[in-house]
């Protein structure tokens, strides 16, 4: 679904991503892991176009070169994004937050899919509250809901469980699996929490200091690797 090839990224002078390569196979959930500050979020931003890349390619869906695409168009290509830190629109109501996603829908529908509200009933309850007033976890749910509004083919989740109560975290995991199974969704997940990753991801990739240092099926994620790359 997405093939990252020799990606290099700089913040000003500092080289953050180094010749990064990553495969995100279709219909699977790939989990990116790594310590704080290794560049996971940066990678996601590069895919979404929020940060510009120096060189390398982002091949999407077997042909589209993402680096050539305008930022706005990437979501139209079916990429949904749940950024780290939620990034909801604080002064828009919950409903309006969700409606922003309608722009990128293929079918041009003007309705927020009922499914979102079923998934996160709290959003329906708080439909008319300002997004910024929600509690942290509620905002996170809103961010996920908003990404789902565009009915993405590729869903990028940057630490989606952060701040969410346990039963809903589990529920999110289930939803991901369900979407993968039913709609053939592809998921690119950034997650620090091993139990979650082990339970819901199909594949993993580990980043360290901006390089990909390991990848494979989630079953292959050994304690060895964890100790080597995920502990301080």
């Amino acid at each position: 679904m997405l093939k990252v090839d020799k990606l290099n990224q700089f913040y000003g002078e500092s080289h953050t991503l180094w010749d990064l390569e990553l495969d995100v196979p279709k219909g699977q959930c790939t989990c990116v892991m790594g310590r704080n500050g290794v560049g996971k979020t940066t990678l996601m931003k590069c895919i979404m176009g929020e940060e510009s890349v120096k060189d390398g390619s982002l091949n999407y869906n077997g042909g589209v070169e993402l680096t050539q695409q305008k930022v706005e168009d990437r979501s139209r290509l079916g990429i949904g994004y749940v950024p780290q830190g939620r990034q909801i629109f604080p002064l828009l109501t919950v409903e309006e937050n969700l409606r922003t996603g309608l722009a990128a829908r293929k079918d041009g529908s003007k309705q927020i899919p009922e499914r979102i509200y079923e998934l996160f009933p709290v959003l329906k309850e708080m439909k008319n509250r300002r997004g910024g007033d929600l509690s942290g976890g509620q905002q996170q749910q809103l961010a996920i809901g908003r990404a789902l509004v565009i009915e993405p083919q590729l869903l990028i989740l940057d630490e989606p469980g952060e701040g969410i109560q346990p039963n809903i975290v589990a529920q999110i995991g289930e939803v991901i699996r369900k979407l993968i199974a039913e709609d053939g969704l592809t998921v690119l997940l950034v997650e620090q929490k091993l139990p979650f990753a082990r339970k819901y991801a199909d594949r993993f990739a580990i980043l360290d200091r901006g390089r990909r240092v390991a990848q494979g099926d989630i079953g292959e994620l050994s304690d060895e690797l964890i100790k080597q790359h995920l502990t301080v």
Binding site: G137, G163, Q165
Partner: protein
């Protein structure tokens, strides 16, 4: 870096972590006392007749569903939000409802926010320097000098939070997790009597979580700590007493085991899987 190995000795108490002398009066019981506190926003009751007592030196975990009112409670304690009714006492002498944020902070209540907030234009070092427990009135701040002692303390904390190499960089460029750590560092510099920590381990790896757990347990005793967290593994590893909030009031309170077997808690919070 082997500094971290050093601190993993549970019994080690750092000099800089020792609480500053605080005027708070805890002779007659708890350090923090909330009674019948209620607050509503545009008619929505976020906190509903909440009663809560934290003992001096206690480490308390607070859990509860999203929107239960945990952050709002902290807002009330630190003076950010004024409750509609109820009373909040710090020790037996200080009525927090009559005080503003800096007074409360000066009194010895420190806070880490749910969404990490640091001073983005200042360097990591300066962030810690500002947080340091010193005279924070205007003129003393103007004439303040950075002594070697201060510097040492800052360095110590820098090492502890793993940002020593980034100390001269602006905090704005830190990654999410790094900001979390920096905020914890600022909290440590403040040397408060009471620490309110909102979701400290969000975005941390397992190992970092362990480190945080150690840190917090070490602080307890001398200082009182209130931790809000959704990561049950983490809560389990540090919790002695857990309070469950739901819809603005206490749903359950007890040890981790008691709480996690409480059917109500399972229903609204933990879910069957946990």
């Amino acid at each position: 870096m082997n500094f971290f190995e050093e601190i993993s000795h549970r019994d080690r108490v750092f000099e800089f972590l020792a609480p500053a002398a605080s005027p708070v009066d805890v002779r007659h019981g708890p350090i923090l006392y909330l009674e019948d506190v209620s607050v509503s926003f545009d008619g929505f009751k976020a906190i509903n007749n909440l009663n809560l007592t934290i003992d001096d030196g206690e480490l308390r975990c607070i859990i509860g569903p999203n929107g239960a009112g945990k952050t709002t409670m902290m807002d009330i304690i630190t003076g950010k939000t004024r409750p509609d009714t109820g009373s909040v006492w710090f020790g037996s002498r200080h009525n927090l409802l009559t005080m503003n944020e800096p007074d409360i902070a000066t009194l010895g209540i420190g806070r880490k926010f749910q969404k990490p907030t640091v001073f983005e234009a200042l360097t990591v070092f300066e962030n810690l320097e500002l947080a340091m427990a010193t005279d924070k009135r205007v003129l003393p701040t103007l004439t303040a000098r950075l002594t070697g002692e201060h510097r040492d303390r800052i360095e110590e904390v820098l090492n502890l939070i793993g940002l020593a190499q980034l100390h001269h960089r602006e905090a704005g460029i830190l990654s999410h997790g790094q900001k979390q750590w920096l905020e914890i560092g600022m909290l440590l510099m403040q040397k408060p009597r009471l620490l309110l920590v909102d979701e400290p381990v969000a975005g941390m790896t397992e190992q970092e979580m362990e480190r945080t757990a150690e840190l917090l347990t070490n602080l307890a005793g001398e200082q009182s700590v209130v931790v809000v967290e959704h990561d049950m593994g983490f809560v389990r590893s540090i919790a002695k007493k857990v309070t469950v909030l739901h819809q603005g009031s206490v749903l359950a309170e007890g040890t981790m085991d008691q709480v996690s077997n409480d059917p109500k808690v399972i229903e609204v919070y933990l879910g069957e899987g946990a």
